[in-house]
């Protein structure tokens, strides 16, 4: 009898536990709205956040940014030139059709087709061939031994698997979706809200827990705060840490996590006097990063080097760099050596978003202490991008998205002639290290390569790395299972539920 009771209790608790996780409707307030829905084309951050819950890639990021298989059941780097993915069986698109190797092949052919103009094509430029092996495997042959460096790209929204049949039937993926992800897009009222509903075919058993997610677009922070306090939404993104005071503990939960994206000063390395690495390095010493974090981000952030300090084993810690210790005397000394004992004047171009203007003001004040006069030129974002692309600046303040993979973080940005090397930076040793890092398989040797690279990048500072701000979300207490990732992804909505 006792045994029976124990079993009964155990069963009941399982039922209760399961019942707790299942069902419900979550309302989430987001600041920005997607711009387009085609996973292979979108570049807007807001599009990525939504589409990663609708589409799946071969891989995805799990907890602590660990790469885990997704549509691929297994990913194997057979050798440094070859990756083989075993495609999961039983995966269905939202319209009920099964996902096959054909769809995977088709997706990558579409990405690589220059007419598609997918941002992901650049990631796969060193892929020599893609072919199906049997009916459940797919093989990527690479021109360079960079299998492990390439893997994180398969987790990005731009590398999602789309339905060949849907596209061939003439569907416009910018307007309609058909993925394999945990939710499908049930309704989208532009400028107002989006409704994602539970995908009954989702291949992970019991997931997602929620029946429905309503994403409401609220551009103003004051509205998101009020809506959350008023109970109009369950969870919201908060940008200004000061607003956290409005959410008393006990009634609300605060989620914060460091992010990979980082604030930076980008420098045109061809314009005098900033073309002199010594001058750029002097600026490094004259900038008090902790003070910026305190004043602009209300201490919600961490100092970052060329790689986010949390990216292990690759990142060197900020304290390892002499240049990151605030030392105006040393800065002055370097400027004198470079022939500018009385300082100089230069312009920082920036825009009024994500507090760039505030960062610029603090830096202006800090550099004034060593006699360097900064003229801040605040421009509209479109104008900023134009000037960025044409390297039409002395320096700029902006934010770059970071990566856990050093090759992704550095290759395009610092290689001579790299597509995002708007700093016009060129150092043959850096080019050499970038190629070496890309093709070195041994982890220890690869680490040595990136250690040297990071040291050079800080010493020569085409970019002055500043800090990474925390991302903050606040929810009411009924929300469970919500987690943040450093790449600011919301893939954990599939494991979120309401009590």
């Amino acid at each position: 009898m006792k045994k029976f009771l124990v079993v009964l209790l155990a069963m009941l608790s399982v039922v209760v536990l399961f019942a707790q996780k299942s069902g419900g409707r979550l309302v989430i307030a987001m600041e920005t709205e997607p711009v387009g829905l085609d996973p292979h084309l979108v570049t807007a951050f807001a599009s990525h956040r939504v589409l990663e819950n609708i589409y799946d890639g071969l891989m995805r990021y799990g907890e602590n940014m660990k790469l885990v298989p997704n549509i691929a059941e297994e990913a194997q780097a057979v050798d440094p030139y070859t990756i083989v993915f075993k495609i999961r069986e039983g995966v269905r698109f939202h319209d009920g059709t099964p996902l096959t190797v054909e769809d995977v092949l088709f997706s990558f052919q579409r990405i690589l087709n220059p007419d598609t103009k997918s941002p992901a094509a650049a990631y796969y430029q060193d892929v020599e061939s893609i072919k199906a092996i049997g009916d459940n495997k797919i093989e990527f042959k690479l021109k360079k031994p960079m299998a492990s460096a390439l893997l994180p790209n398969f987790a990005g929204v731009n590398s999602s698997i789309v339905s060949k049949k849907s596209l061939e039937s003439g569907k416009n993926l910018q307007l309609e979706t058909n993925g394999t992800g945990p939710f499908y897009l049930a309704e989208y009222v532009q400028g107002n809200y989006m409704i994602l509903k539970k995908n009954p075919y989702y291949f992970v058993k019991d997931q997602p827990y929620l029946d429905e997610i309503k994403i409401v677009f609220m551009p103003e922070e004051v509205s998101r705060v009020a809506a959350l306090r008023n109970g109009d939404v369950d969870i919201a993104k908060i940008n200004e840490p000061l607003n956290l005071k409005q959410f008393p503990e006990g009634r609300f939960k605060v989620y914060r996590s460091p992010v990979l994206s980082y604030y930076l000063i980008g420098i045109n390395t061809t314009r005098k006097p900033l073309n002199d690495p010594k001058v750029r390095n002097a600026l490094n010493y004259a900038i008090n990063r902790e003070a910026i974090i305190k004043v602009v981000a209300f201490s919600e952030g961490v100092v970052t080097g060329p790689l986010n300090p949390a990216v292990q084993p690759w990142a060197l810690q900020p304290k390892d760099f002499e240049e990151y210790k605030y030392n105006p005397a040393k800065a002055k000394e370097l400027l004198t050596q470079a022939g500018y004992p009385n300082g100089f004047e230069f312009e920082i171009v920036t825009s009024q978003r994500y507090n760039f203007d505030k960062v610029a003001e603090v830096i202006q004040a800090q550099l004034a202490e060593i006699g360097v006069k900064v003229k801040i030129n605040l421009v509209e974002w479109g104008i900023f991008i134009k000037r960025w692309r044409e390297s039409d600046f002395d320096a700029f303040i902006s934010m770059n998205s970071g990566s856990i993979e050093p090759d992704i973080q550095f290759y395009r940005t610092f290689r001579t002639g790299g597509s995002t090397n708007v700093f016009l930076y060129s150092n043959p040793r850096v080019d050499e290290l970038l190629e070496l890092g890309r093709s070195t398989v041994d982890v220890m040797k690869r680490k040595e390569v990136y250690d040297e690279l990071q040291r050079i990048l800080v010493k020569e500072s085409p970019i002055i790395f500043l800090y990474s701000a925390n991302q903050i979300f606040v929810s009411n207490t009924s929300i469970e299972g919500f987690k943040l990732l450093p790449n600011e992804s919301l893939v954990f909505l599939r494991e979120t539920y309401k009590k």
Partner: protein, 317 residues
């Protein structure tokens, strides 16, 4: 208003609308940063050849005047364009967004008139009294308070005080009437308060003018009752400048109130235009601007028509 008058007004408005659209077209293309720049952002993932292909695809490789010509030609064939960023038809976007802005504008005017006109009249009748002073001070505060500030204060007050009152979560009026009114209440009040201040000042000065007219003195001498004197004889004439002002204000409102629509997360025309400008989504910008210009022209004709109703001496021919 005769039909030939209406026709003449419509025809003479065409150059105005054309001019506005042309100027905006040139201006938005001259601003640095185009739709391709915005698409690439700070990622720069396409080759120069692919970028050139995009310009060709969007017709942006042609001289500006040719691009304008193409747009006009498409307009005449009822092809109003497609958003370059979202792939949606521009006409559908307008149909989705305009009703929200129209409702917000009308409700704001209702608030503004309901508050502004009576207060203005009271201030005029009780000129130089305490009430007049109070109304003038409140009016001045209303004029000088930016709408984003008033909106934020109202949001904070309502979200703390009235639990269960829907401040956000817009639904169309035909979907859920009560919820729609609740959600529209605060944004309309915010805009209404700002406009009420202007209407109130106009009502006061206009009423004061009228009250000094000789026919009012005559009416008083004839023993017309005070309420009739104000309500019938004075108010009707005092209304003309108020109608003009309201017409102009309604025009501004219909152009979309970007700040308020953003703050209250309303999917209106202003927010659409702002997003389109930010993304340099040219077809959306051009058509929305043309639509707004046309609305303002229509509104002006309507205001002129209302004059004839208020003052029979005004004749439109």
């Amino acid at each position: 208003m005769s039909f030939s008058y209406l026709l003449r007004r419509v025809i003479t408005s065409v150059p105005t609308v054309f001019f506005v659209v042309f100027v905006v077209f040139i201006a938005i293309h001259l601003v640095p940063g185009d739709v391709v720049d915005m698409m690439l952002g700070t990622q720069n993932y396409l080759t120069q050849e692919q970028i050139n292909q995009l310009y060709r695809q969007y017709g942006l490789d042609k001289p500006l005047i040719v691009q304008f010509g193409v747009w006009l030609k498409n307009l005449f064939t009822l092809d109003f364009g497609t958003s370059l960023r979202t792939g949606k038809k521009v006409i559908d976007l307008i149909f989705d967004r305009f009703p929200v802005t129209l409702e917000l504008s009308i409700l704001s005017m209702v608030f503004a008139s309901a508050i502004g006109i009576p207060l203005g009249i009271v201030a005029a009748i009780k000129k130089d009294s305490f009430v007049d002073g109070l109304v003038r001070v409140v009016g001045l505060i209303g004029l000088s308070s930016p709408s984003f500030w008033v909106g934020a204060i109202l949001i904070v007050i309502f979200s703390g005080t009235f639990k269960g009152f829907n401040i956000f979560g817009f639904v169309h009026i035909h979907e859920d009437f009560l919820r729609n009114l609740q959600v529209m209440f605060l944004p309309a009040l915010t805009l209404g308060l700002m406009l009420a201040a202007q209407i109130m000042r106009m009502a006061r000065s206009s009423m004061l003018d009228v009250l000094q007219q000789e026919y009012i003195r005559t009416a008083k001498a004839k023993g017309v009752s005070y309420s009739k004197l104000i309500g019938k004889h004075a108010l009707k004439n005092a209304l003309i400048p108020i109608v003009t002002l309201s017409g102009i204000q309604l025009g501004y409102l219909l152009a979309g109130t970007i700040v308020i629509e953003n703050m209250f997360a309303l999917p209106g025309l202003g927010r659409l235009l702002l997003q389109a400008v930010n993304e340099r989504d040219y077809p959306v910008i051009q058509f929305v601007v043309m639509f707004i210009a046309m609305l303002i022209v229509i509104l002006n004709i309507l205001v002129d028509f209302i004059y004839t109703l208020i003052d029979p001496r005004v004749e439109l021919k």
